[in-house]
């Protein structure tokens, strides 16, 4: 009797566990995203093995994985990633802070907007890479000129995002601030900036994306470490597997940083009434 009972409850538990397994592991939505890349990788691998493509220029996924593992084992991957991440991080912080301040200032003060915005828009028309020679002359070939280039790349999307967000704040909410007799600063900090927060975060995300774009350019212009250096090095030494390994590392790093930004800022947006957007 006890036995039968224990068995029944065991079966019950197993059933429940299986149900839970199905719930969590059966067709999770993110799994679909892997189908195509994995299929392509397998096809590529097979094509190389069958001798359909040249392994020297098109290293198969197994070779790339091997190289990546080697870089990981030797600690090189960490060193290069850390160097790149430091550059992106410093440039991002400088560009994001400057872009936010300039955007908030121009958004909140019509006088500032009339004075500054035309100049900033004109500067924006210059491809950022064009500044590189000047930055090198001014700041030297080492870190500062690289960080400056990244900061410039991050500045514009953040500036535009904040400015646009403030310009499109609902006039009705601004009127609430006026009815409560807020000062100009009060209006900026208690109405305009909170209302602009969602778009500000979107702007930060696109700024971060551009930061990663510009770090590659910065590392192309002469660096002794960094993932961009791995790319150049791979090209000069004819190591396509190293190039692909660095590209993969960039993808992972970029996605991770973006996800971290989303994670950190999500609690700030708990008030939003929207279709839950996904990463």
């Amino acid at each position: 009797m006890t036995d039968a009972f224990a068995q029944a409850s065991l079966a019950d538990r197993a059933g429940k566990a299986a149900a839970r397994f199905r719930l969590t592991f059966h067709h999770p939505a993110w799994a679909y995203g892997f189908i195509l890349p994995v299929a392509l990788a397998i096809a590529w691998e097979l094509a190389v093995r069958a001798g359909l493509v040249q392994a020297r220029l098109m290293p198969p996924p197994s070779r790339v994985a091997e190289t990546l593992y080697g870089l990981l084992r030797s600690g090189d991957l960490l060193t290069h990633s850390a160097a790149t991440l430091t550059r992106v991080g410093s440039g991002f912080v400088i560009g994001a802070v400057a872009g936010t301040l300039a955007g908030a200032f121009c958004g909140a003060s019509p006088a500032a907007r009339r004075l500054l915005d035309p100049m900033i828009q004109a500067l924006r028309a210059i491809p950022s890479i064009a500044w590189v020679p000047l930055f090198i002359l001014w700041l030297g070939i080492f870190e500062n000129s690289k960080i400056m280039l990244i900061a410039v790349g991050v500045f514009f999307p953040v500036y535009l995002g904040v400015l646009g967000a403030i310009a499109s704040v609902d006039r009705k909410l601004v009127e609430v601030g006026r009815a409560f007799r807020l000062s100009r600063a009060g209006l900026v900090f208690r109405i305009l900036l909170p209302a602009a927060l969602p778009e500000w975060i979107t702007a930060l995300r696109s700024g971060l994306g551009l930061g990663f774009m510009f770090v590659v350019a910065a590392e192309f212009m002469g660096a002794s470490e960094g993932l961009g250096y791995l790319l150049v090095d791979g090209q000069q030494l004819g190591k396509p597997d190293q190039i692909l390994a660095a590209i993969l590392a960039f993808a992972v790093l970029g996605k991770t940083c973006d996800a971290a930004l989303v994670l950190v800022t999500t609690p700030l947006l708990a008030w939003q009434d929207r279709v839950r957007d996904r990463l």
């Binding site: 009705k172 909410l173 009127e175 006026r178 409560f180 208690r190 109405i191 008030w271």
Partner: protein
């Protein structure tokens, strides 16, 4: 006492919304402003609130002329206009940041209790129904203890039952606080059920055509004879035929 003297408003596009409107509103009274759409009710309210500037004429509170927003004047808009990034308690306490934290919290809690939202203090505006949001907006205006509270059709977007509920609550709040209430409505019955006095505007350009004292005891019933008499007078002033319902 609020004195509006020969107030005119000419909008930038040349629309004359108000022409020489004069009103004297006693402290602690409940005045309804009504009239057909486009006759200048919102314009008048926004001028008193100081959200727009009059073209001519003056507004004075207790003999002191005012221009721009005034701490003694609170506003409830037609929509709740809660700030979506603040909790309900945060919204209600929005105008109290000059107070110490403890006092602010106590006054917010009291205001929320009075409008029946004590349970909702920590929720986001989006989590509240339309009626609850409008009550929070009323609490936000009341908590600053304005001498004069302006309400622009605050219940027009609500269903009849919720509206009747909020009308009762507003009446109770008014009787408790003795704030001067100046409210816009399209609804003849709402005006007669609540107000001491109904001011009727007519358009092109907006001017006062009637100013009725409603001397009925509260609580008021639609079935009273006095109510019906006032209703006819008001409809006549509004230039609408009085539809008599026979049962």
């Amino acid at each position: 006492m609020l004195v509006v003297d020969a107030l005119s408003k000419l909008y930038a596009d040349g629309t004359q919304a108000l022409a020489r409107v004069s009103l004297t509103i006693e402290a602690g009274s409940f005045v309804m402003i009504t009239g057909k759409s486009g006759c200048g009710k919102t314009t008048l309210l926004r001028l008193i609130a100081g959200l727009d500037q009059a073209s001519f004429g003056t507004i004075a509170i207790d003999g002191e002329p005012i221009s721009g927003t005034h701490p003694a004047v609170g506003v409830v808009f037609q929509e709740p206009r809660l700030l979506p990034w603040l909790s309900i308690a945060g919204n209600v306490g929005f105008g109290l940041t000059h107070l110490p934290k403890g006092e602010r919290r106590a006054r917010v809690a009291e205001a929320l209790r009075r409008v029946g939202l004590a349970e909702q203090a920590k929720r986001w505006p989006r989590e509240l129904s339309g009626g609850q949001q409008q009550r929070a907006a009323i609490a936000r205006a009341l908590v600053a203890e304005p001498k004069i509270l302006l309400l622009d059709e605050p219940f027009s977007a609500l269903d009849a039952l919720t509206r009747a509920d909020l009308q009762d609550q507003l009446l109770a709040l008014w009787q408790e606080s003795k704030t001067t209430l100046i409210m816009i409505t399209h609804d003849v019955e709402e005006a007669l059920l609540l107000a001491d006095r109904v001011v009727v505007l007519r358009s092109q350009p907006g001017h006062v055509v009637a100013d009725l004292d409603i001397a009925l005891a509260r609580p008021r019933l639609r079935s009273e004879t006095g109510f019906e008499t006032n209703r006819r007078a008001l409809l006549a002033a509004l230039d609408r035929p009085s539809v008599h319902l026979e049962f």
